[in-house]
Amino acid sequence: MEGRAALPQRPGQAGLKGLLGVLDRISGSTGALAAWLVVPLIAASCYEVFSRYVMGAPTIWAYEVGTMVMGTHFLIGLAYTLREGEHVRVDLFYAQVSRKKRALIDAFTYVVLLLPVAAWLSIGLAQKVAAAWESQERSGMSAFNPVIWPFRAVMCAAFALLALQALAQLIRCYQILRDAE
């Protein structure tokens, strides 16, 4: 890193680094927030058991609230987990090749596989959010029956975040390939 700093920077390089930092921070802070959702998830589910057996009356909200909390937790966490490099891979081959080849494999993954999936899902879900908002559609899963657009909006946001983090990872690949030259 230090050695590199002495080299003349190409234009746009600092901007790219800044963008990378911003993208990383977005995934980091949304992930850190989502991570705490296990606490309300535990609380809601335990309260439901308590309410059913001790108070003799099940709640109408615990089931659906629990479901939405669980969905939000892992969906928002997808981008953070990508940043932390914790999505599993079989590294039988991957671990043997050079850093540059690994960057090429990753770049292929993000451009051809992940970015299209994440971006398209988030655009498609955005349209569904709009439709659910228009019609004030409700879940129909339990007596609680909440409007469905907020949870849909979370799904949409989660895949947008994932696409942004994929972009950040792509910048990393670019930096590795550039430095290798």
């Binding site: 335990c46 669980m70 937790h73 997808l78 849909r152 799904m155």
Partner: protein
């Protein structure tokens, strides 16, 4: 050509995985490309449906809860307590330290739903002691790897929470059905270690009586202090499911609450530790759920593009008997275990296997348990054995990779014996759920 598209899709997915693409993205990406070829823009609607299905499946909320329970227990200090208590009773037996380690793994596995964490914690405690008493290195490695991976087959287990919805089988039935097979496997481990050390005392020498051997009352007190809290947790989780008081997710929430209380009880609780635990929980959960999403999306497209017809054709072409089919399916899963991790094996194979299994007239719960036992082997079979990977992270340099490979081999054979027993006697799986949950 389009009728063979599902085959190309499978091939492309495996090729990407072996090159080193993240499993979840390999699955979702190939599904998008091939799905687009067949259905054009309509493919995204199928994707969105699957996302909504998985994000609104209450059973899956047990995944983060069990993972959280595991990460809290790992830091609770309970492992140290259990280690001391169990060894008070077993250390004078032939191979006693190894026996105690397996016993401790069983208790640990029954109070948490994840592996890996268990193995590291147990290994760090047990390896130095066993080395000190000149236990054979392969035995040490085998004990730690096999014991540490019992978390899958001893309920509760995160694997089962994912397996249930994917195979369309009740998670409660699976959790209760795996109790006996899990105990059989652990029992075989114990028996093997004991017999080995009786026949070859050098493998696990007896420890001479210490001059400061604590009196019985003291031993009982230490044991109670270490054993009662985990037993209470095991009851909270398994008991509430077996008695029909709580759904698996609710039981998992009770267990998670229990784990937090336990860290308070042993005075290990702190906000920093809770923060570490929730972040780790999120990373593991998101990793599992990403593969679940990718796998569901993949099989959705695979089947819609004609994959079912193709697998049925293949089965009809080879004209397999029901048992031959069973062996073929389990054999494929076993081979996959050499390179793939449990979640990938489960998501790639179970959706394709289950229609064939039920079509051949096998009980789906029983098949799922056989599948779980096979998955168990994937932890131990090189080159990609998570159990050995974790062990390498904690073992001193005097233990070589060859020791590890030699050590896990007998335990893989014991897993095969368990598989044979459960295959021959389906009652080992089916009796308990039928008694407790009234299913047939």
């Amino acid at each position: 050509m389009t009728e063979y598209l599902p085959l190309f899709m499978l091939a492309a997915m495996f090729a990407l995985i072996f090159v080193g693409v993240q499993v979840a993205f390999a699955l979702a990406g190939t599904a998008l490309i091939f799905g687009y070829l067949v259905f054009q823009d309509a493919v995204i609607f199928q994707f969105m449906d699957k996302v909504e299905d998985i994000a609104s499946n209450y059973v899956l909320a047990a995944v983060p809860l069990f993972v959280f329970m595991g990460t809290m227990l790992e830091r609770s200090g309970i492992a140290e307590e259990l280690f001391e208590a169990v060894h008070l009773w077993t250390r004078r037996l032939p191979g006693g330290l190894a026996l105690g380690t397996v016993l401790m793994c069983v208790i640990f596995a029954a109070s948490t739903g994840v592996i890996g964490a268990t193995e590291t914690v147990v290994g760090l405690l047990a390896i130095p002691v066993m080395l000190k008493y000149a236990y054979s290195k392969p035995l040490i490695c085998g004990t730690i790897c096999a014991g540490g991976s019992l978390g899958t087959i001893i309920p509760p287990s995160v694997v089962v929470v994912v397996l249930g919805p994917v195979a369309d089988v009740s998670v409660g039935d699976l959790l209760v059905g795996m109790i006996f097979p899990g105990l059989i496997m652990a029992g075989l481990y114990l028996l093997y270690i004991f017999l080995l050390c009786v026949l070859r005392p050098a493998a696990g020498p007896r420890i001479p009586p210490a001059p400061d051997e604590p009196p019985l009352a003291r031993r009982l007190l230490v044991t109670a202090h270490a054993l009662l809290p985990p037993l209470f947790m095991i009851f909270a989780v398994l008991g509430s499911i077996m008695l029909g008081w709580a759904a698996p997710t609710e039981a998992a929430a009770l267990g998670a609450l229990g784990a937090v209380l336990l860290t308070l009880f042993y005075r290990r609780f702190s906000l920093a530790m809770l923060r570490d635990s929730v972040l780790k929980t999120l990373r593991i959960t998101a990793m599992i759920m990403a593969i679940l999403l990718g796998g569901t999306i993949f099989t959705g497209v695979f089947f819609a593009a004609g994959g079912i017809a193709l697998t049925n054709q293949a089965v009809a072409y080879f004209d397999l008997q029901a048992w031959e089919l069973l062996f073929l399916l389990l054999g494929m899963a076993f081979l996959a275990g050499f390179v793939l991790d449990w979640i990938s094996i489960l998501l790639i194979f179970i959706p394709i296997f289950m229609p064939l299994v039920t079509g051949a007239g096998f009980n789906p719960v029983w098949f799922c348990i056989l599948f779980l036992i096979i998955i168990q082997t994937s932890y131990l079979t090189p080159p990609l054995a998570p159990a050995i990977f974790y062990l390498r992270g904690i073992a001193p340099p005097s233990i070589t990779l060859l020791d590890m490979y030699k050590g896990v081999l007998p335990f893989i054979l014991l897993q095969a014996v368990t598989l044979a027993l459960v295959m021959t006697f389906p009652q080992t799986v089916l009796w308990l759920p039928s008694k407790l949950l009234g299913f047939n």
